[in-house]
Structure formats: C-alpha cells, structure tokens
C-alpha cells in the first residue's frame, strides 16, 4: 500500500481513493458547545475505540477491494478448501440420513457346548427370551442342524459316515429393535458369553449396521481431512497476511515510532484475515448450494424409483451460521498466528 517512503519517489499517490485514517472531520462540524461531565472522558475514549474499530474494519475491506485480482485469487483458493470441507460434511450427513430409516436385523448365534442337551438348551433359549433387549430366540437342535447341513452342503455322505453328530446346538437370537447400535449389541454378546453352556458367540451384523459402520469410518476420515483443510486455510491466510505485512512494513515502522501498540498495528491485519475467511465462506457456500441444487433432482428421482423418500440435505441455518463463524475464526486465527511470529522479526526493537 505504502510506496517507497524512504525512496522518496515522487509518484502521485496510488490511484485508489483516499483512505482516511479517520472519518474526515470536515464532514462533521466541531461541536464546541459540548460539555464534559465527570467520567465523560472515559466514555469518549470508549466511543473513540469503537469508532476506530468500525472504521478499520471497513478500511481493511477497502484494501481488499483495491486489489481485486489478488484478493479474488486468495479468496478463491480458500473457498476451494472450504467447499471441499462442506461437501464432505454434506455427503456424510446425507449418508447418515440414508441409513436412518433403514431397519435390518442383526442376528446373534450362540453355539452351545457339545454336552448340552436339547431340553436344557430350550430352557436357556427361554431364559434369553426374557431379556428386554432380545426380540426373539430360536433354537436349532443337533438333528435339525444335521438336516439343514445335509440339505445345503454337498458333504452328505462324508457326514453320514461319522458315528456321532458333530454339529452343536445353536440358539439364534434376534436383538430387539431398540438394541441395534453396535455398542448395545456388544453388551448382549458379552452377556451371552458368560453362560457356561455357550461355547461360541457369533454376531451376524445386518447390512444396515454394516453400512453404518462403514459410514462411521468415512466420517472419521472426513474429520481428519477437515483438519487438514482447516490447516491449509490457516496457512493460506497466514501467507497472505505475511505478504501484506511486508508490503506495509514502512508504515508499520512509522506507526511504532509514534507510539502505536502491537494491538493497534495488528488490528487492520486481523480484520483483513476476518474478511478473507468470511468472503471465502460466502463463496464456498454458493458453490456448494449450486452443486446441491444440480444434484438434488437426479438423486431424489433415483431414490423415488427405489421407493425411497430420500431428500438431499443442505446446510441448515444453524449449520450455515456455524460455518461462517468457523471460517471467519480461521481467518482471524491465521493472521493472528503470523502476526505473532512476524511482527517481532519484521521490526526488531
């Protein structure tokens, strides 16, 4: 912004419009009649502080507008990262919604010890049935198991050659619909393992549960990816602010020489970081909105053909709000980080 202070270049000031340090007083008549009450000075200072902040906020906005090309490039890169992040977030949200209404039942098979008799097994099945997390139990006796085996496997002759029936009694447990979460199932399994009659417990997860587990994995991957994307956003903002810092080095030095605190010097850069985050959030939001609009009809048509009532989810109002807050905070944090590192290096005391 500041050109060659020391070089004494006699170029006319930049083509941009005048950027007043402060609202020009010529537009406001001086109010000499104003009387100051006790404590008024503190109030004045506070008002001046607010005014300064408001003013600086828009001055830093103006600076971005003054260099539209480089600002847009930076915002575009930031928006790309943010777009990726929300897209993944929405994919997860939509997939979760997909499995929400789906009911598929898991099944637990209890293989009993060889010495357990049918009668005893039946009693055990009845006992298990009393568990509120269990919807239904069924028992496959040794004989029944053998019949099934003979019918479905090709080893009939080999099996018949055996003297005794090697197949165990199996109790099949269908968990109640209230107990479909992996954690609840795990609890049931642990319970069943404690029965002395039980040899082995096998969980046969329903496909919806499998899908859910898969989505959970995907969700974690997205989480990790989002952290990387956020780090990328921080770095891009930090590097942009760093360039700005170097461009305005002379100005910063002058301000320091006449008593500016670090806070005063930091402020415009923090605001720039805020604007960068904020505008890239807007851009990313629009890109994602367009994508969702484009995909909405095809997806919902497809879902209709399969009798589904799937509605493509977009960011809700609170989510949009949070997204904007997060993006702006990233902007502020990124510039704050680099200021913390560079301000001391740039201007050695």
């Amino acid at each position: 912004m500041l050109k060659a202070i020391q070089g004494g270049s006699k170029k006319s000031p930049r083509g941009g419009r005048a950027r007043p340090v402060y609202p020009s007083p010529s537009s406001r008549p001086i109010d000499n009649t104003q009387t100051r009450k006790a404590g008024g000075r503190w109030r004045d200072k506070f008002n001046a502080y607010l005014e300064l902040n408001r003013h600086e906020l828009f001055v830093s906005l103006e600076r971005l507008v003054d260099t539209p090309f480089s600002s847009l490039m930076t915002i575009g890169v930031l928006a790309a990262a943010l777009t990726l992040a929300i897209s993944f977030y929405l994919v997860v949200a939509n997939l979760n919604q997909l499995t929400l209404g789906l009911q598929s039942t898991s099944q637990i098979s209890l293989f009993l010890r060889d010495e357990v008799q049918d009668g005893h097994a039946r009693k055990l099945a009845e006992k298990i049935q009393l568990n509120p997390d269990v919807q239904q139990t069924g028992m496959i006796s040794k004989a029944q198991g053998m019949q099934d085996f003979l019918a479905y496997s090709g080893f009939a002759e080999a099996i018949q050659a055996l003297e005794s029936n090697p197949l165990p009694i199996v109790i099949q447990v269908q968990p109640a619909s209230s107990a479909t979460e992996p954690r609840q199932l795990e609890k049931l399994l642990a319970e069943f393992r404690q029965y002395v009659e039980v040899d082995r417990v096998i969980l046969d997860m329903g496909w919806a549960q499998r899908l859910r587990a898969l989505i959970e994995l995907f969700e974690q991957a997205v989480m990790v990816l989002s952290i990387f994307l956020a780090a990328g956003v921080l770095l891009i903002i930090a590097s942009t602010i760093r360039q700005e810092l170097h461009k305005r080095r002379d100005e910063i030095i002058i301000c320091k020489l006449i008593g500016a605190t670090d806070g005063f010097i930091r402020r415009p850069f923090i605001f720039t970081g805020f604007w960068l985050g904020f505008f890239s959030a807007i851009m990313a939001w629009f890109v994602v909105a367009v994508m969702v609009l484009a995909l909405k009809n095809p997806i919902e048509n497809l879902s209709g053909q399969y009798d589904g009532n799937f509605h493509v989810l977009f960011l809700s109002y609170p989510e949009t709000f949070i997204f904007f807050i997060v993006a702006s905070t990233l902007g502020v944090t990124g510039s704050w980080m680099i200021l913390q590192i560079q301000l001391r290096q740039l201007i050695p005391e």
Binding site: P20, V21, D44, E251, L257, G259, E349
Partner: protein, 218 residues
C-alpha cells in the same frame, strides 16, 4: 526531564558510536545537539526513543528508566516524545490531515478532539488548508512541517527533532525555531539535532557538541 549517565552505544559494524555521554535536560529546557556528520546525533536521539538500546550507561526520561522499559511499555514511552525525523517518515498514501492525526488515533482520541487538535497543529506550522493534500504533492519544507505538526499534535512533554530545518530556507527555519521556542515556553523540553551553526548562533540556547561520539562541549 532527560538524563544521560555514562551512556555508550556500539554497533557491531561501526564500533563505538557514542562514548560515555553525560548530560541532563531540565523540564522545559531547550538545547541543540551539534556535531559533524556521523558524530552520532541521530543515534543519541534514537536511544531516547528506544529505537535503539544503549550498550552501557543509563538513560532517564521523565523520572522513568528508559533502559528498563519493557517492549510492552515502549509505546507509552514514545507517546511522551514528539519525534521529528531527518527523512520526515510520512505515510504517503494518507493525506496531510491523516498523517498529523495518526498519533491521536493511536492514543485513542475521538474524532472531534482529533479534528480540533490537527487543525490547531497545522495552523501552527502554517499548513492549514493543505489538509487534504498528499505528502508527495508537497515541497520538502512542507513535508518537514507536516512531520513537525505530527510530532506536536499530541502535546508531548518532550520533543526530539533530527535536522528539523534541513530542508527549509533560512526564513522558514527561523520561523520553525520560533515555533519550538513557543513550545518551550509552555514547558515542553526540546532537543534539536542540527549542524546549522548559523541558526544556533542566532539563538541563545544551550548547545551540546558531539565529536567522534563524545560530548566535547556543553
């Protein structure tokens, strides 16, 4: 107001630029600091404003130790000093008004107070009416006066001026000096670095003379 005790400053590249400097200025005193080019005048002023730290000795400003000022206290210390630079150090993308207003903005004044004080300061240096110009459209002397207005606008108890008349014709120079005298009369302590001997001799003020980094006469 200002006190130097056995102050030395050495640069790794240039060696000992100031050697065992001792002097003090009372409240409301005005003094000139002279010496050949490279004698260390600017360096001495820089030590007071903590732009540099002295290598040895002790500096006191307004009862407070400059040596012990922590980084966080430097801004407060500098607001007690109106600095006038050899190379003006104006912000070239801001108007004259905004340049002069900067110390007040930094100190957190409201816009009414700022407007009044800036105009008063510009009036003093004879630049009223040029508020909306940019520094590059002004002559060297005018820029120098903008720098002076900026230094006095916050009514600091001390003014340090580095060659404040370097770019002014004799007539303007003596006007600026009269201005400094006016400040001195209201109790401001002023230290002016200059090698304009004729200017000094015309005025009857204390002269601190530096030669090869030592204070040779007081």
């Amino acid at each position: 107001m200002l006190k130097f005790e056995h102050v030395s400053k050495r640069y790794p590249e240039a060696g000992e630029v100031l050697r065992n400097i001792n002097f003090s200025l009372d409240h409301g005193e005005m003094a000139f600091l002279t010496g050949h080019s490279g004698a260390g005048k600017s360096t001495l002023l820089r030590l007071i404003a903590v732009i540099e730290r002295c290598s040895r000795g002790h500096i006191w400003l307004d009862g407070a130790s400059v040596n012990d000022a922590k980084t966080g206290q430097i801004p407060v210390l500098r607001r007690k000093i109106g600095l006038i630079f050899q190379d003006y150090k104006l912000l070239h993308d801001r108007t004259v008004f905004d340049n002069v207003a900067l110390p007040l903005v930094i100190a957190g004044y409201g816009h009414q107070e700022i407007g009044r004080r800036v105009r008063a300061a510009l009036d003093k240096v004879g630049l009223l009416g040029k508020e909306n110009k940019y520094p590059v459209t002004l002559s060297g002397g005018e820029q120098q006066r903008v720098g002076i207005a900026r230094a006095v606008v916050n009514k600091p108890p001390m003014i340090l001026a580095d060659e404040p008349t370097g770019n002014l014709d004799p007539e303007l120079s003596s006007e600026i000096m009269k201005l400094f005298e006016q400040f001195q009369q209201v109790g401001v302590t002023i230290l002016i670095a200059t090698h304009d001997i004729s200017l000094i001799s015309k005025m009857n003020y204390r002269v601190l003379k530096l030669a090869q980094g030592e204070l040779t006469s007081d």
